[in-house]
């Protein structure tokens, strides 16, 4: 099954209670749900746990969506609420408990534990520090399957606004990282000078 964002997702059938359609819709949207979670969750919250909470909420509440065209904005709101409200409580305890009883989590943990490059970590930190209205579209654009139009649909905004926010967000990201690098270089220089002074004194 294609994992690309698909305009032909059977949203109407899913809302009507067809479980296969709901599964198909979930497969089609879970990647951008992950992106929205990353954009809004506290850093320490477990992404996989939050995804599961969203999946559960989709099962429980999807029948309440009145209009299929409102499904994506609805799902975004559900996702943000879960990221904010449940995020802090997310199951770090559960991870600890599983470790204690000798159970292991599934294979995806390995991917979650993947060591990211220094660049990726630095950029992610900076991206998470962006104002909310820039953060989400900038991160979503990294999903190759999501066009400006599709992002606009999720965020319920005009396409031109999305393009502007992505462009500005990227500039802000650039400026933040540039500033960080400058500050790190200055700190290193100062440290070097201090060491040189101590060395000179002895």
């Amino acid at each position: 099954m294609s994992e690309r964002w698909d305009q032909t997702l059977p949203i109407e059938s899913a809302i009507a209670g067809h479980s296969d359609a709901l599964s198909q819709v979930w497969v089609g949207v879970r990647r951008w749900v992950a992106v929205i979670l990353i954009a809004h969750k506290p850093r320490e919250a477990d992404l996989e746990d939050l995804l599961q909470l969203v999946a559960l909420q989709v099962c429980r509440k999807v029948h309440e969506v009145r209009d299929p065209s409102l499904f994506k904005p609805w799902l975004r709101t559900v996702t943000i609420n879960i990221a904010r409200e449940q995020g802090r409580k997310a199951s770090r305890k559960r991870v600890g408990m599983l470790r204690l009883v000798g159970r292991t989590r599934n294979e995806t943990d390995q991917i979650g534990n993947m060591q990211l490059s220094e660049d990726a970590n630095r950029v992610l930190d900076a991206a998470l520090g962006l104002p909310e209205k820039y953060r989400e579209p900038v991160l979503m654009r990294c999903q190759q399957s999501m066009s400006y139009k599709q992002i606009a649909e999720v965020l319920s905004l005009p396409e031109t606004t999305i393009e502007t926010r992505i462009a500005r967000g990227r500039r802000m990201l650039r400026e933040t990282i540039e500033l960080q690098i400058k500050q790190e270089l200055t700190a290193k220089k100062e440290q070097g000078t201090r060491i040189a002074r101590v060395g000179g004194a002895s």
């Binding site: 296969d20 992106v35 850093r43 429980r60 995806t108 991917i111 993947m114 990211l116 991160l139």
Partner: protein, 221 residues
Amino acid sequence: MNNDQNQSNLSPENSAHLRDLLISRVIDGSASPEDWSSFRILAASDAEVWTELSDAQREHEALCEVMHAATAIADGVDLPGGSGSPLIFESRVTKASRWGGWAIAAVVLLGWFTGTFSMNPAQIKTNTAGLLPTLQQASPDEAFGQYLHAGQDSGQVVGEMPNQIVIETLPLEDGTIEVTFIRQVVERRVLDQAYREAVDEFGKAVVIPVDLQSLKNRKSQ
């Protein structure tokens, strides 16, 4: 009016906005021939824009690396209960919450029945002293007692924590209750390498080697 004139007629705000848009479109691969033409004109008067483009491109790729990892996690999360049986999951949740109240009572019961809650080695020794069966003949409780005893003799076991943690309590059909719980034993080891737990950007636990020398220096300060 040509592109060059267009650029010079823009206000500083619009000019900055156009610059951001052009860089962004080039990164996304959506720049039209006109956009490229505007970009070249911009670069002819300000070569710095090439550096900005290259930085923006690198940052975008780094972010995509993170999103790729996130995507891999998302691909492993299906709807609860497998395809199309959310009701099964619902009933599990309800069942778990209904019997959650048993956990508190079970802690007390376990304490009463097992009778091994002690941080005091002497007490364990008293309980297990006398005819110790060999490990193969021993029941799990006897074997556990032997482990505590031997561990305390060797210095590896400090003691067992008095409180046991109940994970799950299930009433069985025959009227009994199945309790799954954790017994916590405090052990002591001497290591030549240690690791500390940290949390990565997805909130996953990761282990990082501890620099023992710096730890020693910090302790001695």
